[in-house]
Symmetry: C2
Amino acid sequence: MLLVDDHPMVVEGIRQMLLPETDLRVVAQANGGEQALELLSAHPEVRVVLLDLSMPGMSGVELARAIRAGWAEVRVLALSMFHDHATVAEVLEAGGAGYVLKTASRAELSTAIRQVAAGRTYFSQDVADTLLQNLQITASLETPGPPAITRREREILQLIAREHSNLEIAEALFISERTVETHRRNLLTKTKCKSAVGLIQYAIRHNLLA
Amino acid sequence: MLLVDDHPMVVEGIRQMLLPETDLRVVAQANGGEQALELLSAHPEVRVVLLDLSMPGMSGVELARAIRAGWAEVRVLALSMFHDHATVAEVLEAGGAGYVLKTASRAELSTAIRQVAAGRTYFSQDVADTLLQNLQITASLETPGPPAITRREREILQLIAREHSNLEIAEALFISERTVETHRRNLLTKTKCKSAVGLIQYAIRHNLLA
DNA sequence: TAAAAAATACGTGCCAGTACGTAGGCCCGG
DNA sequence: CCGGGCCTACGTACTGGCACGTATTTTTTA
């Protein structure tokens, strides 16, 4: 397997934790996305990539996508400190086969790797809970309708976050101020927020700000 | 020294990285603040505590304060993924003797520990940069005045973030709506924001929301 | 204890944001 | 071809936030 993390301490820790597991061999380790791809080319025998999500430069999710695109048979196991909806969903979309929190013990980590290597999936308990919540949300929304933020709405949201007034936003996007107001109202309705204050937090929680 | 981190992988990694450094002995390791304090009582020979800032339950900063209060001779070396102004400043106020990023190499880590153990301080390059920026800000503000957010202002900010109106905030804090407006105005001035929208982002960037 | 900072409070006035209603043009999929 | 989602757009009305000025009391700090 290939180990990708920009923290030497974590890399060393995982290496050490896996030493007793003689069937799991750490073939190589990388400190960034680009290096990981190079190593993947040089080591065709790699079957599992254990990668940290938060890395400078190419993010873990981007790397996951790149791996999926170029090495379809390689299984990606995500490693992260967080388990928020947006991130977990991104990893799944990127084709991740599993998601382990950094609080995982040696036992959990090795189990996860074996599961993933065997073609199955693995998710830490908290991550699984997040997934279930997502499913419930998705399910409960089958009846009324999924409040998905559209492209245009996201644009407006980003400009709101930069403290622009409706008029400024209108001029920036070459549309009428009335239109901006409408988008704004729709955003408030969809997010169930009372004002722009809540909107900003929604945007941040869902990673909608570039 | 005592090692405090809720991530087994990191603990194991640091242990392993320090093994070759025969003069640095890891006496014990804890997964949370409470456990760390117990271990500190049981191991009076501990001179340095290397602690992660992000832990469930008692935060790293709280633990640092507790250590400073009860074991004045023990030196605290903070370990963190981030180096934002607010966090670094908090650690310093809490009496931290150093601040190392998790991206640190084995060499940097051992240097940091030796420095701190010897009564000196150590800060990773990026952290030092942050500190310098802070100093420059502080220095440049000696003329006009340092815009520090007060306790009361922080309370109001948190309620604003929860989408409460001025009137609601006033009722919640048993003060006049006018007073809330004044605090709000002062916050806008201090943060150089145009509206509550910017305020929220300021609050999030500076970790002012519980 | 005196000076400085923080918290409290009021008034006046403007405008941006919000609520609510309505509607036409566009494009996609059934 | 038509329904539905999206983007576009207008009008009316209300109100909460914000600007600007001023001032007293309490707490902290020097």
